[in-house]
């Protein structure tokens, strides 16, 4: 089995959709609609191809302006050393948001239009 790792997938501010995926588990997962409007869950598919298994990923729409952190669940699989420090996924995601915001500000500063 390939080693697990956490992939933060984001292809830019235009789409601004973040996927946090526990790999390789998330490579065979499906979407479940959560109660939060901007949060989707990736769950492992069962034998009927239905996403009823462990939560192995989260999708956040409009990530750069997202602030509903309580809606970000913990994943059901351990994926990183940070887990040993009990850092919740939502904290990691918040940190990523700060980094991406800073990158965008830096890029805008370096290349003013």
């Amino acid at each position: 089995m390939a080693k697990r790792y956490l992939a933060f997938v984001w292809d830019g501010p235009e789409r601004d959709v973040l996927d946090v995926l526990a790999e390789p588990d998330a490579s065979e997962s499906g979407i479940v609609i959560s109660d939060a409007p901007d949060v989707l869950l990736f769950r492992v598919l069962d034998a009927n191809d239905e996403p009823t298994g462990a939560i192995v990923g989260v999708e956040i729409i409009d990530f750069l302006s997202f602030d509903d952190w309580d809606a970000v669940p913990a994943l059901d699989v351990p994926v990183s050393p940070l887990d040993a420090s009990n850092v919740p996924l939502r904290i990691e995601v918040q940190r990523l948001q700060q980094k991406l915001r800073a990158e965008i500000v830096a890029a805008a500063t370096a290349n003013p239009r």
Binding site: M1, A2, K3, R4, Y5, L6, A7, F8, V9, W10, D11, R15, V17, L18, D19, L21, E23, P24, A26, S27, E28, S29, G30, I31, V32, I33, D35, P37, L40, L45, D49, E50, P51, E59, I61, D62, V79, S80, P81, L82, A84, S85, L96, K99, L100, E103
Partner: protein, 240 residues
């Protein structure tokens, strides 16, 4: 024994050319674990690195400060390696690897999945072929009368959903079988889709930008469909 756990062991061996920074985070978890170090499913590169460091510290030692190495990855590229760990002679070692960018693109994730064998290259090629031949990039007229566009980066994002990746024909199915269009944030619209696939009721949704580009598209279940049907305001059909 020291055991290794952590993330992205394959990352170095498979795409080292794109990595300039690697962080090796050593975290003792258990003080009753003895050497030798084992880095299961990690690369020889990392194994040599950590073994070298462990030798420096003595076979029972774990570095207690942040340490940086300049190393060759085998791709003619020097990488910076840092390691940090609380002082302690024994413990589990966790290894994490990070590139300079804090995030990956969907294409990079797909490529990693193919390299690791968790998905097949044939599936991805098939998805691209279906996308090319179905005219999705030029736009497809949806039942509500407007053109829906799926460009290549949209496709790469969409196929992160396994049920679309394995059956990319479902992208067109979602667009062609929109049964309800609802308002969404920032002037977007959300199409809710329902169709029959080999006798099985299928559900999906697509979020559209005001100009018809696809922000996201997913396969969902009936329960999710009903949840989404309560969000926003229905704008099509408007004759019910």
């Amino acid at each position: 024994m020291l055991a290794a756990a952590g993330s992205a062991g394959a990352l170095i061996s498979e795409s080292a050319s794109s990595i300039t920074t690697v962080i090796v985070n050593l975290q003792p978890r258990s003080r009753d674990i003895q050497t030798p170090l084992i880095l299961s499913q990690s690369t020889a590169f990392i194994r040599q690195l950590v073994n070298h460091r462990m030798a420096d510290e003595g076979s029972s030692g774990v570095p207690d400060t942040v340490t940086t190495w300049r190393v060759q990855t085998g791709h003619d590229e020097a990488s910076t390696i840092s390691a940090t760990a609380p002082k302690g002679p024994k413990g589990e070692v966790c290894v994490s690897l990070e590139g300079d960018s804090p995030s990956l693109t969907p294409r990079e994730v797909i490529e990693r999945r193919v390299r690791s064998g968790s998905i097949s290259a044939e599936e991805v090629d098939h998805a691209r072929a279906v996308w090319r031949t179905s005219g999705l990039s030029d736009g497809t007229i949806a039942p509500f009368g407007q053109r829906v566009i799926v460009n290549e980066s949209d496709l790469e994002h969409i196929v992160l959903d396994s049920r679309v990746r394995r059956k990319p024909e479902r992208i067109l199915a979602v667009i062609k079988h929109v049964v309800e269009l609802r308002t969404a944030k920032f002037g977007r619209r959300m199409g809710l889709s329902q169709w029959d696939e080999d006798g099985r009721a299928m559900y999906g949704f697509v979020i559209l930008e005001p100009d018809g580009r696809t922000r996201t598209l997913k396969i969902i279940d009936e329960r999710g469909f009903r949840k989404l049907a309560r969000r926003g305001t229905r704008i099509w059909p408007n004759d019910i």
